[in-house]
């Protein structure tokens, strides 16, 4: 399809309902809520792979302990990454609805397959986790774990396909009607970019490595995790992270070479910022690799989170570049402000997210560092009261507003 028709199609497909706040708000939320999603994708994929690798060496107590711990990290991580994926999914569908829906419909069977494989993959992993205890864990469960991880990789690939097909609106009609024959099966994957997918996989190596170093630091106050084991984890972590960071640089260059030259991604400052930042990461992990990283874990993890933030922005810059020839800019989206529901969101994120989220995270963090029963200190105790109060007030407030509106509209 030519550029002008594609542009017209994209604008027709945009939901005529418009959006209820300024597009920039959605765009910023979309980019930054994706960061925790990809971080947990990275940690989970890395931890699952490590959990399996360490399982094969479980006659060694360090590896055995690591296998159990990483299996559990992946179990928790996947359930978090799913929930964390919901927010960027929502915001993508709000401002990039034509791209997201068209891409999903064109590979609809894969979209449904994604859900089923994620569910059975997770159940397989969960079973592996339940059985992976002690050095006498039965060998066959390894294959259950391998199956689970394979499903996670497949799901990451499907995610990638959905994101990538959305960038090529000029090909949608051709994909849907090959040789004038309408394909409603949704059975095909029409496009993918292996270097791009590879980049996110390499990123998993880096982020997981940094996570492992931080893991070693977090548990240093726990008497039941020996210092030798923790040092072992940290050392492993810094070696892994170094390899990941180097692979990321290579794959990013490959990715940028694969992007059509007309998009001029090489001259965009964001590309260079990301490359330089990755260079710094390589250097930081190179240093970490040769020294004892005790106490460095949180710093290195924070550095990696910063990288994820830049990757998120880079992805969006790239998407904007892909869309520019079609005059598709989210900033032009029709806006019909809806202030009350926006205020509801703000109150919810500050009140409930802040108080209840703050309470739970602080509680888990502090209780995790104590071997016996944890006695709440004054801060945690007050946060707890705040948490119950905020949720109760939220429910009461929402109901009150609801009843009032319901009565005035239906009375």
């Amino acid at each position: 399809m030519d550029v002008a028709s594609t542009a017209a199609m994209l604008h027709t497909l945009q939901d005529p309902t418009g959006i209820p706040s300024h597009p920039l708000i959605f765009q910023v939320l979309m980019v930054f809520t994706w960061v925790p999603h990809i971080l947990f994708v990275n940690i989970s994929l890395g931890a699952a792979l490590m959990g399996l690798y360490a399982f094969t060496k479980r006659h060694d107590p360090h590896w055995q302990k690591l296998s159990e711990a990483m299996t559990k990290v992946a179990k928790v991580g996947v359930s978090l990454l799913v929930v964390l994926g919901v927010a960027p999914l929502l915001f993508t569908q709000t401002i990039y609805d034509p791209q997201w829906y068209a891409s999903n419909l064109l590979s609809a069977s894969w979209v449904i397959g994604f859900i089923f494989t994620l569910t059975i993959g997770y159940l397989a992993w969960f079973t592996f986790y339940l059985k992976n205890h002690g050095d006498h864990a039965p060998g066959w469960i390894f294959w259950l774990g391998v199956f689970g991880l394979a499903m996670f990789f497949l799901d990451g690939f499907i995610m990638h396909v959905l994101a990538y097909q959305g960038l090529h609106p000029e090909k949608w009609v051709e994909w849907y009607t090959p040789d004038g024959h309408v394909d409603m099966s949704g059975n095909s994957v029409h496009a993918y970019e292996l270097v791009r997918w590879g980049f996110f996989m390499a990123m998993s190596v880096t982020v997981f490595g940094a996570f492992l170093i931080a893991y070693g630091d977090y548990f240093k106050v726990r008497a039941d995790r020996g210092p030798a084991y923790l040092a072992f984890a940290r050392k492993l972590g810094s070696q892994i992270a170094f390899v990941g960071a180097v692979a990321q640089v290579v794959l990013l260059l490959g990715w940028m070479l694969d992007v059509p030259a007309a998009l001029k991604i090489w001259t965009h400052p964001m590309s260079w910022l990301l490359l330089i930042y990755l260079g710094v990461l390589v250097a930081a992990f190179a240093v970490a690799r040769g020294s004892d990283t005790q106490g460095q874990g949180y710093k290195l993890l924070t550095l990696s989170i910063g990288m994820a933030g830049l990757v998120a922005i880079f992805r969006e810059v790239l998407r904007m570049a892909y869309m520019a020839p079609f005059n598709y800019s989210v900033l032009d989206y029709k806006v019909l402000w809806d202030v009350p529901s926006f205020v509801l969101f703000l109150l919810t994120i500050v009140g409930v997210g802040g108080l209840m989220g703050g309470f739970i995270i602080t509680l888990v963090y502090k209780a995790g560092r104590v071997s016996g029963v944890y006695q709440a200190d004054a801060t945690v105790s007050r946060l707890g009261v705040g948490s119950v109060a905020a949720t109760a007030l939220w429910v009461a407030g929402f109901m009150a507003v609801g009843i009032w509106i319901w009565l005035s509209n239906n009375g």
């Binding site: 939901d15 418009g18 959006i19 209820p20 799913v82």
Partner: protein
């Protein structure tokens, strides 16, 4: 009037149709998510009981229950949640898009609750017995309230799908006017009641295995009472709910849903009542297998009809009585600037105005008529009808009495459907040639061979291009 339609590509699932794909995932999700919300309340109530009556053995029950809560309901609920979302995306893109663009901030608020919930669930399970009781109770109650809040936030969207119930939203476009629609509170009431009922049944699966006799009796009775209260509330709310439904929904419920599912639902209701009364009376007789069967029965015989009915009853619409199931906008919504698709398809038809149609089908000719008819039929009807005779979703050929006469079929398209005379089907004011093509195709499903195709098949049999 618009220039082009904003239709997306279509996903066609032979046999069961996309509606069943949604129904299957929906049923699993509803069972899991309601169980998880109900379980959160059960957890909080029992933890409170354990602390205030100083019965640590109840906490032990919770520790056991917690694992179960975690695996069965929470995780399955949180994966199938996006699962529904994805399946609706491919079954009804403009429907979900309309909902997202109306309710994005409600959904975003719900996400905040999801997020605190998912970390909360781990905290509840791992910290049980590892933190002081008072703090644990704060955690449990925050979690219960947050879980319920996710339900409070999703029901506005689900009930708006049925209808706004008044004209306010069409002119204001306000999210809250859409959210607090006529049947919101009744719908929320049913789901809240259901969550207690199902948690009562699920709780029994673990309660039946408790070792300590006294605790087992006490908890089983507690579950039975909770289940009974839930059932009772559900009946009351259901009566209110039916009173808040639009005319077309009540009609479909009475003429189609009740004959199909009425006796199943009645039997299930009776069985559930008997189950709860019996377990309250003789708690020690409760066996784990029985509780498992009860839970599955609620899912299979209760939720499947519920999910299918909810989908059927809002016919011909998918959301807000302005988006038809087949993805067309049925009317203007001035408050949002949405313009009806009807004038455009009346003037120019669908083939010429849909981007996702091959160039050679844009104009109907005797040669491409059958293929055009197939594409059109799938766009216009497949959301609600299978085209295969033995399809599971209201298959078209039998509904036309397996007619192989295009004229007879076209009469139906020209009359009832053109003018939107059937309360559960969309209006489809298509031009003459498109109706003729559809009639031809539908007749061909029952054996009719159009002359042009017969000729071309005889001359070059290899060019059988169609839709798959």
């Amino acid at each position: 009037m618009l220039e082009m339609l904003g239709l997306y590509p279509q996903w066609y699932v032979p046999g069961i149709g996309t509606a069943w794909v949604m129904g299957i995932i929906g049923t699993i999700h509803v069972l899991a998510s309601h169980t998880s919300v109900g379980a959160a309340w059960l957890f909080a109530l029992l933890a409170q009981k354990s602390v205030s009556e100083n019965k640590p053995e109840i906490m032990l029950y919770l520790k056991k229950y917690g694992m179960f809560l975690l695996v069965f309901s929470y995780i399955i609920g949180s994966i199938t949640g996006p699962g529904i979302w994805y399946s609706v995306t491919v079954a009804s893109p403009r429907g979900i898009s309309g909902l997202i663009h109306n309710f994005v901030w409600l959904w975003a608020s719900e996400w905040v609750f999801f997020f605190v919930e998912v970390i909360g669930v781990y905290a509840m399970v791992y910290l049980i017995g590892k933190i002081d009781n008072k703090t644990y109770l704060k955690l449990a109650w925050s979690f219960a309230l947050a879980s319920w809040a996710t339900m409070i936030l999703i029901v506005p969207i689900l009930s708006f799908m049925m209808w706004p119930g008044n004209d306010q939203w069409y002119s204001t476009g306000s999210t809250f006017d859409a959210a607090f629609n006529l049947n919101y509170f009744a719908h929320l009431g049913i789901r809240t009641a259901f969550m207690f009922a199902v948690a009562g049944a699920v709780g029994g699966i673990i309660a039946a295995t408790l070792k300590d006799r006294e605790t087992r009796i006490e908890i089983t009775r507690f579950l039975s009472k909770m289940g009974l209260a839930g059932m009772f509330l559900m009946l009351v709310m259901f009566m209110w709910y039916t009173a808040t439904l639009p005319e077309n929904a009540r009609l479909i419920m009475e003429t189609q849903m009740m004959p199909k599912y009425g006796s199943t639902l009645g039997a299930l209701l009776l069985a559930t009542l008997v189950y709860f009364i019996f377990t309250a009376w003789k708690p020690m007789y409760l066996r784990q297998g029985v509780a498992v069967v009860m839970t599955l029965a609620i899912g299979l015989f209760g939720l499947w009809p519920e999910e299918r009915s909810r989908e059927s009853m809002r016919k011909p619409y998918v959301a807000g009585q302005y988006i038809y199931s087949n993805q067309f906008f049925s009317r203007d919504v001035p408050g949002k600037g949405v313009v009806s698709d009807m004038p455009l398809i009346e003037a120019k038809g669908v083939l010429a105005t849909n981007y996702f149609v091959p160039e050679e089908l844009r104009k109907i000719t005797p040669e491409n008529q059958l293929r055009a008819g197939e594409v059109l039929t799938k766009i216009m009807c497949a959301n609600c009808h299978s085209v295969e005779s033995d399809g599971a979703l209201r298959p078209l050929p039998p509904l036309f009495g397996h007619s192989d006469e295009p004229k007879m079929i076209q009469a139906y398209l020209d009359g009832a459907l053109y003018h939107g005379k059937i309360p559960y089907m969309p209006r489809m004011p298509l031009p003459e040639d498109e109706r003729a093509a559809m009639a031809l195709y539908i007749a061909s499903l029952s054996g009719y061979t159009p002359p042009a195709v017969a000729v071309s098949q005889a001359t070059h049999s290899s060019s059988a291009k169609g839709v798959n």
